[in-house]
Symmetry: C2
Subunit: 195 residues, 2 copies
């Protein structure tokens, strides 16, 4: 730690910038050089502040989890209904193929695909994130059940797992080249399962 000397950079902004590099390129393909450039840091500041590439990645995953979970929660709170929130989350993916940035998928699911199975520590972070997202979908399903839009006898936790799985598959389809119309077609079928 830089005790007694003020940091000459904003660690929070640097973390944000690093997160976007990992999100676009994946863990393995991200070099130290990529990180230093994006974070505008010297090698010594990097190691002093963040320790290692893996330690930085853990912080990026944590930051992603918190910012995504907060955004989802706020969107759910603002939504006209639980069912509406779920539909909006899925139809938003149809904007990705023609969006201004190349589709990046979900950092957590990208990480699961890339190397969670090779590294027990990363597997643990991924499982925590999935659980977090699942809980928000579960809250949305329970709200929809109270609102009469999803049958009350359906298992909310099971539907929530299904929604996380479906979202992950859908985002991969976009990365595999699916266009907006194909995505919308798939979403209509995904949402059928809630009926």
């Amino acid at each position: 730690m830089n005790i007694g000397r003020p940091l000459e950079f904003d660690p929070d902004q640097a973390l944000h910038d690093a997160m976007h590099v990992f999100w676009c390129k994946g863990y393995e393909a991200t070099s130290l050089q990529d990180l230093l450039k994006a974070m505008d840091l010297s090698k010594s500041s990097f190691y002093q502040t963040f320790g290692s590439k893996q330690q930085l990645f853990e912080r990026c995953i944590g930051r992603y989890r918190e910012s995504m979970a907060t955004a989802m929660r706020e969107r759910l709170d603002r939504a006209a209904s639980g069912r509406q929130f779920i539909a909006e989350m899925f139809y938003a993916v149809a904007d990705e193929p023609n969006g201004p940035v190349k589709p990046r998928g979900c950092l957590v699911m990208n990480t699961a695909n890339e190397f969670a199975q090779r590294d027990p520590l990363v597997a643990e972070w991924v499982a925590q994130c999935v659980d977090r997202f699942k809980n928000i979908f579960q809250a949305a399903v329970q709200r929809a059940q109270q609102e009469g839009d999803i049958a009350a006898d359906k298992d909310a936790a099971v539907l929530a797992h299904y929604l996380v799985s479906s979202m992950s598959g859908l985002k991969t389809m976009v990365k595999a080249g699916a266009g907006a119309n194909t995505v919308k077609d798939i979403v209509r079928v995904i949402l059928c399962a809630l009926d």
Copy 2:
């Protein structure tokens, strides 16, 4: 090419071995050293026969596509019904969490997640593979429609895209730590959409 001198190794076996390395580790994390070791090749034989890591990867993707498509076709031909084939394909994923090898997902979808969006050539291979798998699911849906197990007025191509997307998501859930029971719960919901 080794004109006039017989190859001292089996290129087909070497390709098979390389495919498994890429499948387990991903493209970026696979080093030339990993490949030479798995293929039991010298560096010169490697470059002489396969050209480059990327050219080898293209052949591995092609081989994966053909072997998966053939296996799926044979399974569909043997299946008691189109609907049964689809259910079997999905419930088989529930065996992965407790299987003898670590879940590797699908090489094509792993590739889409890892770098299809960064490389137009790889994006094209991935799109071709997805189309191939989609066509087999579409044949299964059409068979199920003829057999009266899926309503004839449903769009078989849309359901096929949904099944490819769902399979991709499900395999990612396994890599993200989902256990066999969670997978089976999700599969039950996925199959509901066919009703």
